[in-house]
């Protein structure tokens, strides 16, 4: 075990990790940031998505040591400074884009990265962009609407087409 240091949600942090410690384990058990979830063991569900240096990354797929010194953002760092929900989070609540909430942190992180890259995606681009995130509860209808709404588009009108 060696100590691995990085910036998480704007704070410099340090916690022990083995060579095989995944970033998601480091966050969850090392730092107690349990908002990032583990939904699979084959890097395919997206429940674990965080941002590493601004890019959406499946945190079950990188070793903590490999992102030493990086700037990591997790779901716990997505609210506004005053504690209110950020734009993407608020859109998910407004459009009922979550049910059990287990996929939600990954969905929010993926959405934020998607919109940073493509601020006004089409429905097809949203669906394609969320392809790496599985939700078993919502049938995706309201998630797609939430993403469209977070990009400032009229989600109801698009869904009704």
């Amino acid at each position: 075990m060696t100590n691995v240091t990085m910036t998480v949600n704007g704070k410099s942090v340090s916690a022990p990790a083995e060579g095989r410690t995944l970033l998601v384990e480091y966050l969850r058990t090392g730092l107690g940031l349990t908002g990032t979830h583990v939904g699979c063991d084959t890097s395919q569900c997206g429940a674990c998505v965080v941002h590493v240096d601004g890019r959406a990354v499946k945190s079950c797929t990188v070793f903590a040591m490999d992102v030493e010194g990086s700037d990591v953002r997790t779901i716990e760092g997505m609210a506004n400074a005053d504690g209110s929900l950020g734009v993407v989070q608020q859109a998910f609540q407004d459009h009922h884009g979550l049910q059990c909430g287990f996929c939600t942190p990954g969905m929010v992180m993926t959405t934020a990265a998607l919109l940073a890259e493509n601020p006004r995606p089409s429905e097809a681009e949203v669906r394609h962009g969320l392809e790496g995130n599985i939700c078993r509860c919502t049938g995706y209808h309201n998630i797609v609407k939430a993403v469209l709404a977070a990009s400032g588009q009229d989600a109801d009108a698009i869904a009704a087409q």
Partner: protein
Amino acid sequence: MPKDTGIGASTKRREDVRFLTGRGVYTDDLTMFGQAHAVMVRSTVAHGRIVSIDTAAVEAMPGVLAVFTGEDFKDVGGNPAGWLINSRDGTPMREPKRPVLAHGKVRHVGDAYAAVIAESYAQAKDAAQVLSDATVIEELPAIIDMKAAAADASNRVHDEIPDNICFDWGWIEDNRAAVDEAMKSAPHVVTLELTNNRLVPNAMEPRASIGEYFPGTGDYKLTTTSQNPHLTRLLVCAFVMGIPENKLQVVAPDVGGGFGSKIYHYGEEALVLAAAKRLGRPVRWTAERTESFLSDAHGRDHVTKIELGCTKQGDILAIRTETYANVGAYLSNFSTATPTFLHGTLMAGPYKVPHVYVNVKTVFTNTAPVDAYRGAGRPEATYSIERVVDKMCRELNLDPFEVRRRNLLTPDQFPYTTPVGLVYDTGNYQATLDKAVELADVAGFEARRAESARRGKLRGMGLSTWIEACGIAPSHLVGVLGARVGLYDAATVRVNATGTISVMTGAHSHGQGHETVFPQIVAEKLGIDASSVEIVHGDTAKIPFGMGSYGSRSLAVAGSAMDRAIDKIIAKGKKIAAHMLEAAEGDITFADGKFSVAGTDKAKTFGEIAFSAYVPHNYPLETLEPGLEETAFYDPANFTYPAGAYICEVEVDEGTGKVDVVSFTCADDFGNVMNPMIVEGQVHGGVGQGIGQAVLESTSYDENGQLLTGSYMDYAMPRADDVPFYTVDHSCATPCTHNPLGVKGCGEAGAIGSPPAVVNAVIDALHRGGHTHVSHIDMPVSPNRVWQAMNA
């Protein structure tokens, strides 16, 4: 104007805030002081005799604290089936013991026969691998195919069960001869053989359990991913471990989806409790997704032959089915009810069909246990009926919409006693069908089809009119049918001295939004602000009792209990108000949060009454206890019967066989709707799963019993780009006649009604494209199957 609070308002969910900020608390998020980690050791063969397990090989490994095998649990009880089903000849079902850890034999890949407990998860995992290598299992031939298993007496999943049959059930046996007669004399008989594909539920949160033991008091605590903590407590205490029920607290905190798979008690729950006691430390276990695939109860897996007798005009005269239902290697808790009373009793569908007979043979195989999965039995019934009705339309060249209209029960026929033992209380199936036709723009289909054709795609439209029985369930009725439990529910409404309210409900929310919806009802009934109402669920130490959430029962059963408890609160409030206002109790009315003396302006607010109940200075203490807290148990008088009409449009690529679901329309009757936003979300989710079943999801065991689809690389989960936006409507409401809220339940509808609509649409597309030889394709309608069918 839609309401913005109370019953019928699309109130935004309060639970969302914690989920959206990473502050949900799921079982695996908890850390216990001094915790140890359990890793299960699972069979890598489907069927085998355990020759030796060399526990000494791991006991000295770093961090290893304990090793458990089946031997440690051979003297405790088994995990039982909740329903006792009799075969047609009256003999009781065969019920082999389901041990905490496999003992003597392993019976499916993933069957846990040992567990290693260690200081760290990594150490436990390392040791589990070593123990697996240090175990000798003599492999036996795997029993995978149901019909072969039933035919071959030489190879047995359970040595004491000669033909691998759990039971051979007839429903209703006394009607069989009449059904045979009606079938024989029917002018036309349609026959269809189909498979209802095995599914893996795949709640996104894998199962997890933490056991604790408190030597000072002898108390146990189990924190677990459960849809029904009280049921788990009952099973662990009374059947498996022999712990007194008042010595075990079961907590199900935030749970990341269930869909049936978390109803059941699993061996890992008993294991962590036993390990916690032996070690004197909390012991935790969390499944990896691979373990979920191998060891969660799967769903469906029926092979059915259905026959439908009818007139040449399409009037249904009789339905007869023979089904082989896979129960897997052991009986999971609801596994015997699902293919029988949740399936056979729905085999008349929403139709006036005079003669119905259902035969179900349940078969043990060397596969994971199969149990209720979203819809549970009712999707299987609906799929069989709606597919055979569709086939009838093709054989007789009839319009599927017209045929439905001819056969659907009409509103004047309710209450309607079906030939399979249910009494539908109310409905208007024509209304939902008309609504679906309108919303799906059936009239515009031809133009859409032509447009698809220009892009080289075959377009088809499929219909399904479905019904389900939910609000599970009237205890008396299910008792007659073999249930070993009652299926009422309970609620305590606690009005605190300051007027805030805690509702302890037996329902469990794992995505359904109870924390938001239940306060809407309380607020409306008591004329107070919903924000002062808190829902408490998922903890046997806090809630009075509860049978949990499944079978679309939360609102219809637990919600009704809550409604009853609120009525008791109001009744007591009237007594207090009568005293304070110096009026007769009969003159007190309650409305808009105020107790008033009728015909006067004398009144007390709800808050004043609550305060007086806890500070009883001016209070009828001689005749009334202080305090304001009421509990109600509610046992439903009947099932509820949601119903609806679904229309699906698909495009099929003739070159590849790929099916795209391009539109999906639902017109449902859920009775009264408490929160439309949440109800619509439930339908979206169910339809998403139904499209998954119809188009993508396949659970495949090879002939050796290896699960070929054991990860998200091999098991195709529906993803965002596999589904369209759905059109969902619930305006054609006929309120349930026998529960106080008039609600029917909406959680399973989408998963029940959608698969046949999708497959009917695919067959329609192929026929319109000239492939008229294709009468059926089994689910999932994968490119491979569709292409093969077209080119057969």
